[in-house]
């Protein structure tokens, strides 16, 4: 029996009812990102401090004088969530050592969108991971600068139309391949890297819980469907999050101490990417040739990932 198919049955027993990211925020209808943030908070629990980058999740949650956050939360700027989180971690560590705060374990979490992680925030994140802070960093990747109006980022997929890489008479939109951010984190030799998507809530929660237990740096790349930016129907958010996984465009996997493991949610046989593309306005202009080119790339990238699993298993 598939756990996701029977989510209603399992959820009350597996997921806490306690909300640490509460209702009343200003996210769009069908926002996959805000769902992911809410699930992340459930998995982290109350002994958490979050440092957030500027972005959708920051503005929808913290419009003064209201807040959606039931955990301590700090926002400073766009590119520095990981650096702020480094400081929070160091500050708490020093105060705990000196007995100025109680000695409970507090997980420090940095969070940002794809721009705040992969583009403008990459340096601060690389520094924080390299220094080995006891910190989880979560990238909520909705594949463009949605907060500023759907401009392309290095996380935007090939062929997607955005406001700064629009499809036009002589262009099919984004002309670069999506940056492989989880691999960049793996290259930092941190203990835990995972990909996740809130369409697989139990898998996502389990991964956050795993990262929470690690006394050191960890990274989760969370795929977040954005109906506003992708011009997709808001009721299809969960379905799109599942299709991106089922097509192998965004495979779910973990890398624990350098060892790759494909998550149980991955199907044996991948669906064609066409199934995923067809309900999204950002891909509507793509012709057969472009889709074919992207399909080839998705296949080869997925094969590469499977090879890494096999090869590192054999090497072990």
């Amino acid at each position: 029996m598939n756990i996701v198919e029977n989510f209603d049955l399992y959820a009350p027993r597996l997921v806490t009812k306690k909300e640490l990211f509460c209702a009343g925020h200003r996210a769009c209808q069908g926002c996959g990102e805000v769902l992911a943030v809410r699930l992340m908070c459930k998995a982290l629990g109350e002994n958490t401090v979050i440092a957030s980058a500027t972005g959708c999740m920051e503005i929808v949650s913290s419009l003064y004088p209201s807040t959606a956050w039931e955990v301590p939360w700090i926002h400073v700027a766009f590119e520095n969530a990981a650096a702020v989180a480094s400081g929070v971690e160091a500050g708490l560590k020093a105060l705990r050592k000196k007995g100025r705060i109680d000695d409970r374990y507090i997980k420090v979490v940095g969070m940002a969108g794809d721009g705040g992680t992969m583009d403008i925030g990459l340096q601060a994140l690389s520094g924080a991971m390299e220094r080995g802070h006891d910190m989880l960093f979560v990238c909520f990747d909705n594949e463009a600068y949605m907060n500023t109006g759907i401009q392309r980022s290095s996380g935007t997929p090939m062929g997607a139309s955005t406001t700064t890489a629009p499809a036009g008479k002589i262009s099919y939109g984004q002309k670069t391949w999506k940056k492989n951010m989880p691999e960049i984190m793996v290259a930092h030799n941190i203990p835990y890297v995972a990909t996740a998507c809130p369409s697989y809530p139990l898998d996502f929660i389990r991964k956050v819980e795993k990262a929470k237990k690690i006394k050191g740096p960890s990274y989760i790349h969370c795929f977040s469907v954005c109906p506003t930016g992708w011009r997709s129907p808001s009721h299809l958010t969960i379905a799109l999050g599942r299709l991106v996984v089922e097509t192998g465009i965004f495979p779910l996997y973990e890398v624990e101490n350098g060892k790759y493991k494909i998550s149980a949610e991955m199907p044996k046989k991948l669906k064609p990417i066409k199934d995923y593309f067809k309900t999204q306005g950002r891909f509507r202009h793509l012709g057969e040739a472009e889709i074919e080119m992207i399909q080839k790339r998705v296949n080869s990238e997925y094969d590469k990932l499977l090879d890494k699993v096999k090869c590192l298993k054999a090497w072990n």
Binding site: Y64, W69, P72, V76, V84, S86, V88, G91, R100, Q123
Partner: protein, 391 residues
Amino acid sequence: MAKRVGMEVAMAVAEAVGQCNIDMAAVYPITPQSHIAEHLSELIADGKVDAEFVTVESEHSAMSAVIGASGTGARVYTATSSQGLMLMHELLPIASAMRLPIVMGIANRAVSGPLNILNDHSDIMPQRDSGWISIFAENGQEAIDLSIQAFKIAEHKDVLLPVCINIDGFQLTHMVEPVEFPEQELVNKFLPPREPYATLHPGKPVTMGAFAMADYYPEMMKAKNEAIKNSKKTILAVWEEWAKIFGRRYSPVETYKAEGAEILLLTMGSMGETAEVAIDELRAQGKSVGLVKLRLWRPFPFEELKEAVKEAKKLIVTDRAVSFGGPGGPVFSEIKSALYHEEARPMICNYIIGLGGRDVAVTDFTGMIERVVQEDVKKIADTYEFWGVRE
């Protein structure tokens, strides 16, 4: 009684910061600040200072990390210079808006381009309106004293603002000077542990750095302005307390042989001591000259400045920075606007001097004063000139 020792000023600043029971520091290396970062790490590595030292990958992250740590309630320190300060620029108004009592040492250095590592004040001037308390040191002893006082000022419940201490790069940071460290016991008494207003702790969750639009933003800006204006009271009280305990007196505007002087020279930072020599020489020749040293840059000490210059006929303001296409150097602009409404105010002229580490000699100051004596007042009033610069 504390013993006098010879020490490089940058290292002395690190020693002084180490006396302040800091919890965390994040400093990125940059000439001529690096000796502060190095010596502070040494003190922490030797267990002499019990603090976390975060070896950040940029000044931007240094400021970000101290903001995060200060948010937890920790006492934090950072230091930088020139390009590093320019890189931090984005975060400076955020730190003050969040009312975090961060202390930063600045080894003042010229900003690029062209690349130049030597002293002037072009790094701090663009930070003027960021809501930081900004104080200038004239010598090593002042750099030590001000660095310790800064924590007390910043953390005071009536202030809660970040403070930067300007220490001229090389001219001060790399000089070996005789300095006296205050006794640790007295520092502990002067500077008790920080009592934060709110902290990032699950015991009492708070949201820091919220988003505010036109319905709240202007009130927040006014509140910040009131806070920094009000901070002068605390600054004066802290300096008074320092004078009582340690015997060294500080004030927002300091004067040297200025009483009754017809011509006043105004300096900021390490040039002050050179200017004193010039004043001595001219006084010996019977000239009616004196010196005004501006220590407190923000909040600007309007009252004290007016008081200091009210009897003078001519005021020469020196600037170590340029406001390109503007009305003169940034200090000159401030002084002029501060005196605009005064009925009796001196004629003011401006010399931009010592850019990019160009040596500032006693003869430069005597030359300026002699020029002002000879020149027709009307010709030089309200103008500025690059002193000693080739055409």
